[in-house]
Amino acid sequence: MDANFYLWLIPLVPLLGAAINGLTGKQRSERGVAAIAATSVAISLALSLRAFFLYSGTPVVESHMPWIYAGNFHVDFNYYFDPLAAVMTLVVTGVGLLIHIYAAGYMSGDAGFYRFFAYLNLFLFFMLTLVLAGNYLLLLVGWEGVGLCSYLLIGYYFRKPEAADAGKKAFLVTRLGDLGIVAAVLLIFKTFDSLNFTEVLPAAAQFAPEHGAWGPLTIIGLLFLLGATGKSAQVPLYIWLPDAMAGPTPVSALIHAATMVTAGVYLMARSSAIYLNAPDALTMVAVIGAVTALYAATIAVVQTDIKKVLAYSTISQIGYMVMACGVAAFSAAVFHLMTHAFFKALLFLGAGSVIHGMGGEQDINKMGGLRKFMPWTSITFLIACLAIAALPPFAGFFSKDQILWEAYSSEHGGLAFWIIGVTTAAFTSFYMFRLYFLTFHGQPRFEATAARAQGAHGNGHGGHAPHESPATMTIPLMILAVLSVAGGWIGIPALLGGGDQWNHFMAPVFTQAADVNHAAAHHKASTEYLLMAISVLISLSGISLAWWFYGRQRSRDEAAADTPGALRTLVANKYYVDEAYQFLFVRPLVTFSRDILWRAVDQWVIDGAVNGAATATRGLGSVARKLQSGNIRSYAGWVIIGALLLIGYMVGYSG
């Protein structure tokens, strides 16, 4: 230990902020609450930067106090700092700070202002605990904590039933995945007799690769994947994220774009040593990621709610990261995680700014021409769209290109993954620019004049002409826009004359993964150029397609109302898969089912059995009902009978 990193302070400061705001925020002014919240995050950011600059190449472990000691089960409160944790911490605190500043403007005038900021800071505490944890159990604490805060923040407008329901849905669905994480942690302890990263990961690296076997590492990997599908909204547990858009927009930006939903990717990257010796789990991860990326991207094409488009886009982009993990390109996955955090947060904040300016309107069919009203928002939004569409030199290009390249060249990857990735990229650029053109270009399609006559110029929640948001909101947009442009430059591949600093920086974390991917280096440089060119062309074609349908002068009015004919029908009908099924399988099945299965088997055999079971249950219930007499003394009698049975067992068997 050469220097004190004060890692424990990084999560603790936001917790203090949350405590101060939560307990005494009611009496404070909005300005005071926002100042406390933002200051605590700023201190965290400063500490993270300090740790980052102090970091000298060896992972730092800070152990602070024993937590659980039972038998040989030892867990401390220990924090772990390495390049991966550094990147995550900086992204969380940096983006978090910007979003805090933004939220101060966005949420002003809201009754629960202090409550909102208390939740937001609490979320940061848990998220930082998650990324700085030095063992799996502490990581789990953060993991569950962010789920809780996600629930609180999605259901922030708890008076709206859909928001409350969305909160519950998010909580329960992710909880399903968390079950996998808990099981995996138990299994890790059983396998490695420890939960500390410093002991588990090197030990896991020593295992023999489990090809086609159900060894502990494979099971752990699959359980982690289950957890990640919940928390990171992958197929099949992605369903909560679109609903989660019922929360305030800053929440969508912070939790459901930049930080919490990437926790699953972080977990996999952190456990890379486990995955590399479990190739089957790795393949499963890649498949899940690829399927999610493509699936969500196609859904995003037909969404009309500005936030829903971004939600599906997030699912799709995280699918990319998961796919990258699955082809053992962990450092590319984390790279994309970082750049995605920048531009997706920017997109969400831009969308929030639009909603704010439109007085709560979220339907893109009712927007249009907002360029003139909201210049800053429009420009930054365009930058973010270019970044997510992966055009050079924007951030998204470098990270996405690295993922695509590794998907093609890694020994865990293959051409199929690359094709899916590129297809997704086409869809991505198409739906993003569809969103951009519909929102900011063309003729305004909203009723502004009537409301303007009344002069209803409230706090952005009445009907009036769209207006640019206050500086607290636009400045974070600009900062994020700069990051969205320049954020990828630290990872310019050697091929394009860059230093590939990113991979050098991250290499120590994924020592094994690096070996895997160096094996891929024998691919020709020309191949890499070709793939890069293809992906750029694909993105450009997506953009031009979007422009063709939505950006041109002609047909703007019809286009606004509807997506293009052929493409729309295809996607909206989910590729006619249902119809094909209908013709091939369903109709013959129906005949067979109705006449044979239903009339004979079901009604006679199965219904008989089921009804018999019900009757039996009812009979049993009428007996058991007598137990619930409501009389305490009878209950006491039953308790004694139970005790007697136990004691009788002891007398009979213990000798």
């Binding site: 009389n631 305490i632 003394r633 006491a636 009698g637």
Partner: protein, 100 residues
């Protein structure tokens, strides 16, 4: 020279008397006192065994049992008071609906 088993049997007798009180008495407060009697009986066996094994931990456990009993008595009696306010009776047979 009292055998250890005497102490334990005494504890068992007191415990059974407590159980009997819980089953046969009808006054809520008396029921509560029966519970305290059971706790005391268990404490006796704790102390006796702690003495027998020459380990202080048994006595510390008694200490904790007492503290928890105190907390339980405070809350329980408060519940009894509110039940009496709502029902004007302390007879458990009258308070047979599990809600107030």
């Amino acid at each position: 020279m009292v055998p250890l088993s005497y102490y334990l049997v005494l504890s068992a007798i007191l415990f059974s008397l407590g159980v009997a009180g819980f089953i046969f008495k009808r006054n809520l407060v008396t029921l509560f006192m029966s519970v305290e009697l059971m706790l005391n009986a268990v404490n006796l066996s704790f102390v006796a065994l702690s003495y027998y094994f020459r380990q202080l931990d048994g006595q510390i456990f008694v200490f904790f049992v007492m503290v928890v009993a105190a907390a339980e008595a405070a809350v329980g009696l408060a519940i009894i008071i509110s039940v009496f306010r709502n029902r004007q009776t302390l007879n458990v047979d009258e308070i047979s609906l599990l809600k107030l």
